[in-house]
Symmetry: C2
Subunit: 317 residues, 2 copies
């Protein structure tokens, strides 16, 4: 029997999952070369403009293999639909039998991205976070804050977004547990926060190197292509520890790619997230650290597994 799990059920299930832990296990498996992840498949559409990406893979000697189909159709909002659409599929790794269809509409991709941000903070944020700085006001900004709650007790948050109205709405949307302050600029945000998370699709850097204070950790979430860039390349001159979710992907996309191109970062200095966690690298309180997340298929594998496992267990009871 193939289980079909709809978005409502997925939302209910994910409230009970430790996704940060799931991402940790996934990144460790990835860095230990325990995953099989072929190149991403792509379909492009002209009228209307859109794209679909097909990601698939598995962890060796595991129970499942996972296929994710995710699309972006940028005219969708004019039809009252989200631009992002998609689903995940889970198959038995030993027989090929389809075990589950997760009709998540892109929800799990948002969550696994945010959970990786929280994982980065869990290991590399300063011990005393005075203020969190969130750059960007989209759904990912919201999820990053939500996930950070499990790894940091700080509830002071500086917000900045290009659109003032959206920024104000984002600040207003945060629950009473948060104390939001809207920053006048990314510069101000960076000067006042020592845990910065950037989650915009910027192609021109927003965060000035000069504004980064000693003892700051930055997680760069937005850039996942060769063109996007949120951090000035000079940030990497100040950083004593630079971590990539995927060393391989950082050769062709993301902040690390941009900085190595600009000559402010030697590729040999970059450590992979799963390796850094296992090796127990620690920071001095005055260090500046950067984790660059471009998104790795093992995150999809881990979150699909976690959802299905919970579904199966709870359905049995």
């Amino acid at each position: 029997m193939t289980s079909v799990i709809n978005l409502e059920k997925i939302k209910e299930i994910t409230e009970n999952l430790d996704l940060v832990q799931a991402m940790e296990e996934g990144f460790i498996a990835y860095s230990n070369e325990q995953t099989v992840v072929p190149p991403v498949g792509e379909l492009l559409f002209d009228e209307p403009k859109g794209d679909a990406h097909i990601k698939y893979g598995y962890i060796k000697n595991d129970d499942y293999y996972v296929v994710k189909i995710a699309s972006g159709f940028y005219d969708n909002p004019s039809l009252g639909l989200a631009s992002s659409q998609g689903l995940m599929l889970l198959f038995d790794q030993k027989t090929g039998v389809p075990k589950a269809v997760l009709l998540d509409e892109g929800y799990l991709t948002d969550l696994r991205t945010a959970a990786a941000g929280a994982l980065a903070a869990k290991y590399f944020a300063p011990e005393q976070v005075q203020a969190i700085g969130i750059v960007g006001t989209g759904i990912q900004a919201k999820w990053q804050l939500e996930m950070l709650k499990s790894v940091s007790s700080c509830r002071n948050v500086y917000l900045w977004g290009r659109n003032q109205e959206k920024t104000a709405a984002f600040a207003a949307s945060l629950g009473t547990e948060w104390t939001p302050i809207i920053a006048k600029s990314p510069d101000e945000l960076a000067r006042k926060s020592n845990l910065i998370v950037t989650c915009t699709p910027a192609e021109v850097p927003l965060i000035p190197a000069a504004a980064i204070q000693p003892g700051t950790h930055i997680t760069a979430v937005g850039s996942d292509t060769p063109h996007k860039q949120e951090l000035e390349a000079g940030v990497f001159i100040k950083a004593s520890l630079v971590i990539a979710d995927s060393l391989n992907q950082s050769k062709s996309r993301g902040e690390i790619f941009k900085a190595t191109q600009a000559g402010t970062l030697e590729a040999s200095r970059v450590v992979e997230l799963g390796t850094a966690i296992q090796s127990g690298i620690t920071r001095k309180e005055s260090d500046i650290t950067v984790v660059d997340l471009t998104g790795v298929a093992v995150q999809d594998i881990m979150i699909a597994k976690a959802v299905y496992h919970h579904y199966k267990t709870s359905t049995k009871c």
Copy 2:
């Protein structure tokens, strides 16, 4: 809402579909370069041995895009499971919204393959079929005969399979409408039949060129890799018309690939199925013709569309 259509429902629906017509439209679109079909994605597994293939694509300016996941795990029968597993997904081509999950367990792949065989016979079989010859005794052999009923009134069938017991069981399994004769050899089968369909995974040719009589049509279904071969390469010296489902694929797999390698066939003589149908090429009654089917993703697109369209229409009533 994403429709989830299970195998039982799919079987019920396909009884009401004109799949030969659907394949005809699909091959014409394919030969007219109206399809977008990127390279097949592949996952390989070691313990137990298995593989999964991910095929995806669409017809330009159509309503849907289609993704098919099909796997083969060859230890499955020892677990009481079919080796082949899989499903098809149908997405809105204009928004990316998932429209349907077809939990077909490989059933639709069997059907679309057989429907292409019937399409080949519809256009290229001799006007008077004295006897159909079916080489192979598997599920595809059964489906080829079933589909041929809609395009030929001949019910005399010569059967041959490597395993005598399975061949006898296959003959016994045919309904009373058929008059089956078990051939002593592929040679006898070829001499007595003027519509031959080969559907085995043979890697050493079964059908001797010398046995093929004038006025015979052959549809070669089994070979879809660079290694498989059912027809002696000399068959192509005798053939006046040679058709490939995909000219591109015939450069690297199937009977045509083998014959061009052996020097018995000039690649320039090969016509693509969709082109041959449109151009109205006809045979003289004494001609020997060959259609080589290696399987094209447009067949998956067409059958998934046909099933979903029927499902949607019948559910509305």
